[in-house]
């Protein structure tokens, strides 16, 4: 995990408070319960634009998507994040009507749409390879959805011009898609699906084919359009950085299930499962046994003694002493302790390697049992004090520790 990722996550937290309001945060299945933090910027409660209820899809014996429910509020930007084969594309296709589910329901803008054909769903979709029609000009491409809706020709040319302005490409109207660069094609694809103002826009790894620099620019571009137009976006990616930068909420998927759903901060600082902790950012995972349940949890980690973690929030389950627990701590929370210095959680390690990456320096260390622990700190001349090959004490605070239980052990 690069430090600027963490930075991005933190910035999001701030910007959300200022601007986007927490309507989008947390559970929003019931629009009635939604209230805004800074009430004056909200006129009315935002409606649910997309609601997926217990959707399932299996290919023979392989369950591609198992009983998944998810809701999107108006104006929300939600990202489906997960490795390939995690079910995110299956879910997206079911919402788009391009792959039908075995059971469950899809509601789009308050209307049941589970088995409606795609053209009746009031959705827009942006494909990874843009899917611009190669035999039509840019203007004809953008006019296509309007023509399908029998919009009068005068209105069509007005709308086409307007959306070309919106993506800042008014001069390419008469060109063919392949005469445009990749980034321009992507913008036209965005314009084509925003021109008819669908209830929800689905994006299937839309930046996957672009190079890194262009991808960063397009991320901001999509964000800009999202905020300016207030559209609702369901975004699919396997790129965690993209998900952290762009989303109001991230839905982390794994093996056809939702692993965790929440704000980028939730997922980064309060992962609920080992998978979530491992998939987003870097993490140190220490396996141990629960020995004491008090205001904090005490965990016996072989090779490093008792470590403590706060009780996980939002879990009502009983914590049974003796059950297996994995403790997670981010490398940037772990620091090398000087002799005599103490911390809430302390482990003794063998320092194997010290690597200067640039802004940060990483320490690669091993517990007595062999478990690897990584500590990251901002690079400074004092880093030189710790020499590879020596024994060392690492420490971090209870606050930065997350206790993760096996899915089967709890809940």
């Amino acid at each position: 995990m690069h430090p600027h990722l963490v930075e991005a996550a933190r910035q999001k937290e701030t910007s959300r408070r200022n601007h986007f309001a927490s309507v989008c945060v947390g559970a929003i299945a019931d629009p009635e319960t939604i209230t805004s933090l800074d009430g004056h910027s909200m006129e009315k409660p935002k409606s649910v634009k997309l609601s997926v209820r217990s959707l399932r899809k299996a290919y023979g014996a392989i369950v591609a998507l198992g009983d998944t429910s998810i809701d999107l509020a108006e104006g929300e930007f939600l990202t489906l994040l997960g490795p390939s084969g995690s079910g995110k594309t299956t879910l997206l296709m079911a919402i788009a009507g391009l792959g039908l589910p075995d059971s469950g329901e899809v509601w789009i803008d308050g209307k049941l749409a589970t088995y409606l054909p795609p053209n009746r769903r009031d959705i827009g979709m942006v494909f990874q390879n843009y899917a611009l029609f190669p035999h039509m000009t840019v203007a004809e491409n953008i006019a296509f959805p309007l023509r399908m809706r029998k919009t009068p020709e005068a209105a069509i040319s007005r709308e086409v011009a307007r959306s070309l302005e919106m993506v800042q490409l008014p001069h390419v109207a008469d060109r063919l898609p392949r005469q445009l660069s990749g980034g321009q094609q992507q913008r036209i694809a965005l314009a084509r699906c925003m021109v008819y103002q669908p209830s929800i826009i689905l994006m299937d790894e839309p930046l996957g084919a672009l190079d890194k620099k262009l991808r960063d620019r397009m991320q901001l571009e999509i964000k800009r359009l999202h905020t300016e137009l207030g559209v609702t976006i369901l975004y699919v990616t396997h790129d965690q950085e993209e998900a952290l930068v762009m989303s109001d909420r991230i839905c982390l998927m794994n093996e056809g299930r939702i692993e965790q759903i929440g704000t980028p901060q939730d997922l980064y600082f309060r992962p609920q499962t080992v998978f979530a902790a491992d998939f987003l950012g870097e993490s140190n995972l220490l396996r141990g046994t629960l020995t004491e349940v008090g205001p904090t949890l005490a965990v016996d980690v072989p090779g490093s003694g008792i470590l403590r973690a706060p009780r996980p929030l939002g879990t009502n389950a009983d914590f049974v002493t003796g059950s297996a627990v994995t403790l997670m701590v981010r490398p940037e929370s772990v620091r090398a302790l000087s002799p005599g210095e103490s911390a809430e959680n302390v482990v003794e390690v063998d320092l194997r390697d010290r690597i200067l990456v640039g802004q940060v320096t990483r320490l690669y260390a091993h517990l007595v049992g062999g478990t690897e622990v990584v500590a990251t700190s901002l690079t400074s001349p004092s880093n030189d004090k710790v020499e590879p090959g020596r024994r060392l004490r690492l420490g971090w605070s209870i606050e930065n520790t997350v206790a993760l239980f096996d899915r089967s052990g709890l809940r």
Binding site: L98, Y115, F133, L176, C193
Partner: protein, 601 residues
């Protein structure tokens, strides 16, 4: 200093380099010039000379003077046109079905399309005689339905010719359209659907225009090939519907009027070239290479093209309107229920059409099999009794066995020669960035485009002057000419899939270029080479046109023996021979396909 030296040394190594790059192409080019370009040019040259060898237009004046030849040309163009139309109309749904199917289903469908393409051409034509004849299966079907006779006569007329030719050429149409459809992004129709297009709209406005280059290319190839047909019209037609190739044969075979045959051949060639020209103006010849995205779309509207595009747009609007009305009607009868999936009807209809077309393509050849066991001495349906006598007759006949042995040897030699010439050429064409690569490739493939009958007659004339008529050598050389394009295509496809880094790795590990070729490249592309060899072998084994002209009286091959038999009398012995050939050739092809699949994956 060093710059000066290098400049001074430049010319010599450069000249050497050019030669090094081009020389592997030389054998193939020299061979084609000698045995393809020169004979054809000679035949055409003959047509502008009079009896005394002076330039004259007498033969062309004779062509123009009699309405017979223009009529024959008109019949030829008409038959080719109808054949093309039916091939495209029936082939398009099948190609679309294959292009939109996935995985194994698709592979199997392709195999079923290609199967008849490879079963002996004559066998397929005989199958139609069995099926369409006065006592054939089709007329039996009609009498079972209560009709005394089929409403139209199916054999020995235009209908028979068209059935036979559509059957013969549809695989070519399907495969050509498929190569373009495969390159259409599957996301495009889906994108159209998410943007609000009904299934019909998405198809007609997005998929159909994008598939047009394939339709055009298929139309061109089918039409050009159909122009040169003579076996089907001779066997399934009557004396009235004569095609131009039959006139050429008559002039050469019976009247020995070479010059006039040359003039008729020129007429055929010119017709082909006019078609090519019109095609190029409309679609661009580059679409023949399976390019999508329509380079034609780039062109500014002008003349013919503007008219065509207007008609096309109108057609699409009409089809969209019809589809919309149909869709609305279906919605009214079966309203869309968002809570229940509705199986789209159109896909099922497509399957029904596709399977019917496949049946038309693949089934007829199999009807030859039961006939070969019939005790009756004519080919009729249903076969009577069961006997192996016909097989016995074929296998004990010195003529049949001799023809089989000759076909086998000629096939092996022709394939080997084609391989020897094509492999180095294919290497250069795929791996070197040489000037005129496209033109070179086109030249090596040109024997595919020139009507086969023209090559055959030209070779006959050429051979008659160098004493190669009736020799196996002449036959081998002629077959190598027509087999070469197939070999070049196959090997180029294999080499394009070959990872050049493997060679680079071998060089970096210390292997010389020769060692790399022998120990790394060739072993890796061996299955592909073997497949190319088998394709070439089958091309020669099934070749009739050239064999008919250059093999002479006793030097007969299997297809020629079958042809002679068919012309004299159609007996179940022919069906028995056909069955044997069919199994032999199909077996070879299946091996070749399996090998190629292994080589390209």
């Amino acid at each position: 200093m060093s710059a000066v030296v290098s400049v001074a040394q430049m010319p010599a190594p450069k000249a050497k380099l050019v030669f090094e790059r081009y020389w592997p192409l030389l054998p193939a080019i020299v061979f084609l010039v000698l045995l393809f370009v020169y004979p054809v040019a000679q035949l055409l040259w003959l047509s502008v000379l009079d009896k005394d060898g002076a330039l004259s237009a007498t033969h062309y004046m004779r062509l123009g003077a009699s309405p017979v030849y223009l009529q024959v040309l008109w019949t030829t163009v008409r038959i080719a046109g109808w054949t093309t139309l039916f091939c495209l109309l029936a082939g398009y749904p099948l190609a679309f079905l294959i292009a939109t199917s996935a995985g194994r289903v698709r592979q199997n469908l392709v195999l079923w399309v290609l199967m008849p393409f490879w079963t002996s051409f004559l066998v397929r034509t005989f199958a139609w005689i069995v099926l369409l004849g006065r006592k054939g299966l089709v007329s039996d079907l009609f009498s079972a339905l209560g009709y005394a006779e089929p409403p139209v006569q199916l054999l020995y007329n235009m209908t028979g010719i068209l059935i036979g030719m559509v059957h013969a050429l549809m695989p070519l149409a399907v495969v050509t359209m498929l190569s373009v459809m495969e390159n259409i992004d599957t996301n495009l129709p889906r994108a159209a659907a998410t943007l609000g297009a009904r299934g019909g709209q998405a198809f007609w406005r997005v998929y159909f225009p994008l598939s047009m280059p394939g339709v055009a290319a298929a139309g061109l190839l089918v039409f050009i090939t159909a122009l040169g047909f003579f076996i089907t019209p001779a066997l399934l037609g009557s004396g009235r519907d004569i095609m131009i190739a039959q006139v050429i044969i008559e002039q050469v075979d019976q009247l020995l009027n070479w010059a006039f045959a040359g003039a008729v051949a020129m007429l055929l060639l010119l017709t082909s070239l006019v078609i090519f020209y019109v095609y190029d103006r409309l679609f661009g010849l580059s679409t023949l290479a399976g390019q999508t995205g329509g380079s034609a779309v780039d062109r500014r509207p002008r003349g013919l093209w503007a008219l065509g595009s207007l008609v096309g747009r109108l057609f699409i609007e009409v089809m969209c309107w019809l589809c919309d009305r149909y869709g609305e009607a279906v919605d009214a009868i079966r309203p869309i229920d968002p809570a229940r999936p509705r199986k789209p009807m159109s896909r099922r209809v497509l399957w029904i059409i596709g399977i019917a077309t496949l049946f038309f393509l693949a089934a007829p050849a199999f009807f030859v099999i039961p006939v070969s066991f019939s005790t009756s001495s004519f080919i009729d349906w249903p076969p009577h009794g069961f006997t192996l006598a016909w097989y016995e007759k074929v296998l004990s006949s010195p003529q049949w066995v001799g023809a089989a042995i000759r076909s086998f040897i000629v096939g092996i030699l022709a394939a080997a020669l084609a391989m020897l010439l094509s492999i180095p050429a294919a290497f250069v064409l795929v791996r070197q960035r040489i000037a005129g690569r496209v033109a070179m490739t086109a030249f090596l493939l040109s024997p595919l485009i020139i009507p086969r009958i023209l090559i055959a007659v030209a070779l006959f004339y050429f051979y008659s002057r160098v004493g190669l008529v009736g020799t196996s050598v002449g036959l081998v050389l002629g077959h190598a000419v027509v087999a070469m394009p197939y070999v070049v295509i196959t090997i180029m496809a294999v080499l394009k899939n070959y990872d050049m880094r493997l060679d680079q790795a071998a060089w970096s590990l210390g292997a010389s270029k020769t060692q790399t070729l022998l120990q790394v490249t060739l072993p890796l592309i061996k299955p592909g080479l073997l497949a190319a060899f088998l394709f070439a072998f089958v091309t020669s084994f099934d070749e009739l046109t050239i064999a008919l002209f250059v093999s002479g009286g006793l030097q007969t091959t299997i297809p020629k023996q079958m042809w002679d038999n068919a012309v004299l009398q159609v007996s179940p012995a022919l069906a028995a021979a056909s069955t044997l050939v069919m199994f032999f050739v199909t077996g070879m092809i299946l091996i070749a396909v399996a090998l190629r699949r292994k080589a390209t994956t």
